[in-house]
């Protein structure tokens, strides 16, 4: 017990003597939480559109007005050459090209039907999809208006129609920040935990201090615990700072209880730190450790459900996310912050992350060799 205590004391001393780590601990959550949510915006605004109008009729005018009146679209050019419009796409100056054929008004009136052509720049998939969808709905609206104009619809629909009203549960205003900030906070806690713990043991290997530790009678588990606990505490500090920032900057107050968040975070940190320790038992230099943990973190984060919805991933990726601890914490954070889930609601998440923790840490202890 005394050995563990002195190991902890030593570890904390070293952390507090390293100004870089301390600065990082406060700067990283602050900068990431203040900047990332502003940039990682799901709402697509300012879709650049180029309209090729061969018709120049009053209807085409109306349509163009309707499109440019919304703040979703920014008109790049209003031209009568499709080739010119395509060069905008080539130079990435336009995301969408809407072509109105020359007989648009004529066909609309005479044939009750007129085609429109829509070309989408699909390099940015999200923008292309959403922009295309917005435009289709605007055109659909326009279509209805035209019909209204021509035939006074009777007060009651002669044919049955379905009206859809929707309500956004848990995030009524669909504020994406409520959704992103807890997720980014998870990433922060994960990165700090995994990187710091991975680099720490490797640093001892590099400097050679581990040699001196290895000839002492201290036990493996004491050594590993001596590394684990300080970063566990640091993880909580980061989480607390992060929660404070999201309250001050975004007014996010978890609907659920803080106890739930901290209990889950405690178990979660155990598994992330275990992963970091496992990496450090494999790596011999800090570069190796950094690369290896960065590689894993990239995969965990990209397939963690923060930026892309897991439900829309292919089956194999969805299977992978079941083995990704980051996924569970992001889900739990969103559940607790937005929905107010309780410990009972997240019991399965808790259990799975606990299993990860036990597995990673056992592997780390097993693979840590006091002799070669």
């Amino acid at each position: 017990m005394r050995a563990l205590f002195i190991l902890l004391e030593k570890e904390f001393r070293q952390i507090f003597r390293d100004p870089a780590i301390l600065r990082m601990m406060f700067m990283m959550p602050a900068i990431q939480l203040l900047i990332m949510p502003l940039a990682a915006d799901y709402e697509v605004k300012n879709v650049k559109i180029c309209i090729v109008d061969y018709d120049h009729s009053s209807y085409s005018q109306k349509l163009v007005n309707k499109i440019t009146a919304t703040d979703y679209f920014r008109l790049v050019d209003y031209t009568d050459s499709y080739d010119k419009a395509l060069t905008y796409v080539e130079h990435d100056e336009a995301d969408l090209v809407l072509q109105i054929p020359s007989s648009f008004e004529k066909d609309l009136i005479r044939e009750d039907e007129a085609p429109l052509f829509l070309a989408i720049n699909a390099i940015n998939g999200v923008k292309a999809n959403l922009g295309g969808a917005y435009l289709r709905s605007i055109i659909g609206d326009f279509n209805r208006e035209v019909r209204l104009e021509w035939l006074q619809l009777p007060r009651q629909n002669t044919q049955p129609t379905i009206e859809i009203e929707s309500i956004n549960w848990f995030n009524p205003l669909m504020n994406y920040r409520f959704f992103m900030v807890p997720g980014i906070l998870v990433i922060l806690v994960t990165m700090v935990g995994a990187f710091l713990s991975a680099l720490n043991i490797v640093k001892e290997k590099e400097i050679g201090t581990i040699e001196q530790i290895n000839v002492t009678p201290i036990r493996k588990y004491q050594f590993i615990l001596g590394k684990l606990i300080p970063f566990w505490v640091l993880g909580f500090v980061i989480l607390t700072i992060g929660l404070l920032i999201s309250w001050v900057a975004y007014g996010i107050i978890p609907v659920g209880s803080f106890v739930t968040i901290y209990v889950f975070a405690g178990v979660y940190l155990l598994s992330v730190l275990g992963l970091g320790l496992l990496v450090s038992t494999f790596a011999n230099t800090q570069q190796q450790a950094m690369l290896l943990s960065f590689f894993m973190m990239m995969i965990f984060i990209l397939l963690g459900g923060l930026y892309t919805s897991i439900d829309s991933m292919p089956m194999w990726a969805q299977t992978f996310t079941k083995f990704n601890p980051v996924t569970y914490f992001i889900e739990v954070m969103r559940m607790v912050v937005l929905k107010g889930s309780s410990l009972y609601d997240i019991r399965f998440h808790l259990l799975k992350v606990l299993i990860f923790g036990v597995v990673f840490n056992s592997l780390a202890i097993w693979n840590y060799r006091k002799r070669s």
């Binding site: 005394r2 050995a3 205590f5 002195i6 190991l7 030593k10 001393r13 070293q14 003597r17 390293d18 400097i207 050679g208 201090t209 581990i210 040699e211 001196q212 530790i213 290895n214 000839v215 002492t216 009678p217 201290i218 006091k370 002799r371 070669s372």
Partner: protein
């Protein structure tokens, strides 16, 4: 009683596809209370042997015991009773002198106060820097701190891997004086060094080269085995003298030793006057030959050749 006993130890490292034999069939024994020197150039296998004896590495073949305990089966016991000072300074540079010392004391379940008498002589020299970070100490101070840390749990055997490498001459002498004092505290010391001049300070030495032990004896015993006359040679142009001596058929060996060259002749009856005459013909001036006693280094060079 044999405190350290090494029997037929062999260690092979794999480097890519090729293998490097670091230790070949090494055997020796160290008596209790001995100051035993392991003398050999860089890469001769000294550190590997230390790591095996301090239970940090497993040998491929052979057995070894330290203080009566087997290095493989009873490694836990050994770790409690040996002090190890690696060749590279491996204490925490961002902790102070005092913090390092109390850290290692606590890991061995003891305290600075409990064993202060043992380290007193060493520690008083660095005590005035006790609030300074270990990384900010000078080379000699670092070695003294490392020795204090290796001693703080009163080990029965002390392993010092090249403790004087990179340390100035004055500090080196001080360090050996400290080791002599420790010996009186009934601590067995195994020390390795690449410096031949330090060999004479040990009770017994093992000369090691390419993972093989060339000879084990007291420093006097080793030099006594040097059985042919040894001459030191000097002339005005020392570099030319070296190449000329080496090219002469009558010369058995010639090595530069600081200000002079140490020479042995093939024929023990060879006269110095004949030699001087030959060198004179080659254009050398102020040629001086002097008969000298062989040192450890001469013996080492000789053994290496054989």
């Amino acid at each position: 009683m044999k405190v350290v006993s090494v029997k037929n130890i062999e260690k092979i490292f794999k480097v890519g596809k090729s293998t490097v034999t670091a230790l070949r069939d090494i055997s020796f024994e160290i008596e209790a209370g001995e100051l035993f020197g392991l003398i050999g150039p860089d890469g001769s296998g000294k550190t590997t042997l230390f790591r095996i004896l301090t239970t940090l590495m497993l040998a491929d073949k052979g057995t070894a015991s330290v203080d009566g305990f087997d290095v493989v089966n009873d490694y836990k016991q050994i770790r409690k009773r040996v002090g190890y000072m690696p060749g590279r300074f491996s204490l925490y540079q961002d902790l102070t002198v005092e913090e390092n010392l109390s850290f290692f004391a606590t890991l061995f379940n003891t305290s600075i106060e409990e064993n202060y008498d043992l380290i007193k002589d060493i520690y008083v020299q660095i005590e005035k820097f006790k609030t300074r970070k270990a990384g900010a100490l000078s080379g000699g101070m670092k070695q003294k701190l490392a020795l204090s840390c290796a001693l703080i749990h009163r080990p029965s055997v002390l392993f010092l891997d090249e403790p004087t490498t990179g340390v100035d001459a004055v500090s080196r002498k001080e360090f050996w004086d400290l080791l002599r004092n420790l010996q009186q505290q009934k601590i067995t010391i195994l020390v390795s060094t690449p410096y031949m001049d330090e060999a004479s300070l040990c009770d017994r030495v093992a000369l090691i080269q390419d993972g093989k032990i060339l000879d084990i004896d007291s420093p006097k015993g080793i030099t006594k085995k040097f059985n042919h006359p040894l001459w030191s040679a000097q002339a005005d142009n020392m570099f030319k003298l070296l190449t000329d001596l080496k090219s002469l058929v009558e010369v058995n060996s010639c090595y530069p030793f600081g200000q002079e060259h140490h020479v042995t002749f093939k024929d023990v009856r060879e006269s110095v006057n004949d030699m001087q005459a030959r060198l004179h013909k080659l254009g050398h001036t102020s040629i001086k030959f002097k008969k000298i006693e062989a040192g450890i280094e001469d013996c080492f060079m000789d053994l290496m050749k054989g």
